[in-house]
Symmetry: C2
Subunit: 264 residues, 2 copies
Amino acid sequence: LGEKNNGFDVLYHNMKHGQISTKELTDFIRERSTIEEAYARSMTKLAKSAGNFSQLGTFAPMWDVFKGSTEKLASCHMELVRKLQELIKEVQKYVEEQSKAHKKTKEEVASTLEAVQNIQSIFQALQKSKENYNAKIVEQERLRKEGATQRDVDKAGVKAKKATETYKSYVEKYATAKSEFEQKMTETAQKFQDIEENHILHMKEIIQSYSLYVDETHIQIGEVHHEFVRNIENTSVESLIQKLAESKGTGKERPGKPPGSSKP
Amino acid sequence: LGEKNNGFDVLYHNMKHGQISTKELTDFIRERSTIEEAYARSMTKLAKSAGNFSQLGTFAPMWDVFKGSTEKLASCHMELVRKLQELIKEVQKYVEEQSKAHKKTKEEVASTLEAVQNIQSIFQALQKSKENYNAKIVEQERLRKEGATQRDVDKAGVKAKKATETYKSYVEKYATAKSEFEQKMTETAQKFQDIEENHILHMKEIIQSYSLYVDETHIQIGEVHHEFVRNIENTSVESLIQKLAESKGTGKERPGKPPGSSKP
């Protein structure tokens, strides 16, 4: 606990830092959500581009595959955004719960804080009374050696005795205060530890949800991608040539007679 | 081929549209690359945020896991950007090859274009000669019915005969032109079809590379994500509490004596 018995202070402030961690986690998730939303919007724009490409040329029908696939990618990322937005609400609830819990804990450990302040002030007084005791003893000795008057020696003796009693009484007070402090501090330290454990567990649960949503999205994206590959593969060269032939009427037949031509 | 024998025109312009398709594919890949780069940069920024979060609190060491994971995600996307940039160079090479090939093809099919123009102009002339023939026959009949002079009837007869011969000659010319046109057009149509098939195959190869790069990145992202989940799981509550205890010296021991206190 160090010289100043500031263990309580350290543990109390560490508990409060938990609120900062929770807010930071909110910020992290929010920033991730923003990034995913930007990506989704860009994908939507890209899909529109694909839809606006020329309708002409043998390749043109393939743009439908690109458009469809890119729109689905956009959807996947927007779904992640929605899930993360819901998660942020959960985290914000925890921020509030945490704040309330901390206030309650502060009240509950108030008597330990008092015990800390008590032992610190008694320790100060103990130090002072020890210095005073030492000084009075030294003074008494000095007068004896220098052959002072008996009256002066006796006076010094009275002061020394009084200083001794004060010192002893502070030693006892300190022992009492220490015992009380140790008992309360042990309980309070355990309480703070329990709070930290629950805090970390709660944070890990939030992170688990975050991970789950990211993973679900990842799987969906994989499926969209595989569908894209299949659709490209399934669009045969022949089918595109066929489509072209049908749309242009350049036909599979030999170039025929123009209407109206006939032999006389 | 329709009334105007414009099949050649249709097929020629369809070939040229292939260059537009190739440029559009370049644009699509480029836009995808831009989107991935923006995402990568945002991830890098997010990683920096995680690195700048408070060092205080029991949870704080966990930000290292977030930072590392997010930096790796950024790397995955940047690698995709690099691959797509290289692919764009490949596509741009194809754009140039295509342009050169089309110029060459234009020269090679020039005689077919001539045959088209020839049959079109002969057809026009045939139509005209037919109309003239019909007109001269009708005139001849009209004069005969109306009892015109033999001289006038004979004159009309001469014109009708001339018109008939002109018409017949255009019918023959048309037959010749048609035969030549059909032969050339059959060859040229096949050439254009071969060009389209090769074009589509080349485009599909480019798309295959694109798909491969996207899939490789997807797999890497999955690994980064699983590593993140593992690292979070492996950071136990106990280890964090331990770390905190060591850093603060609040110790596993009971609160001890302040230095300098001693009994008289």
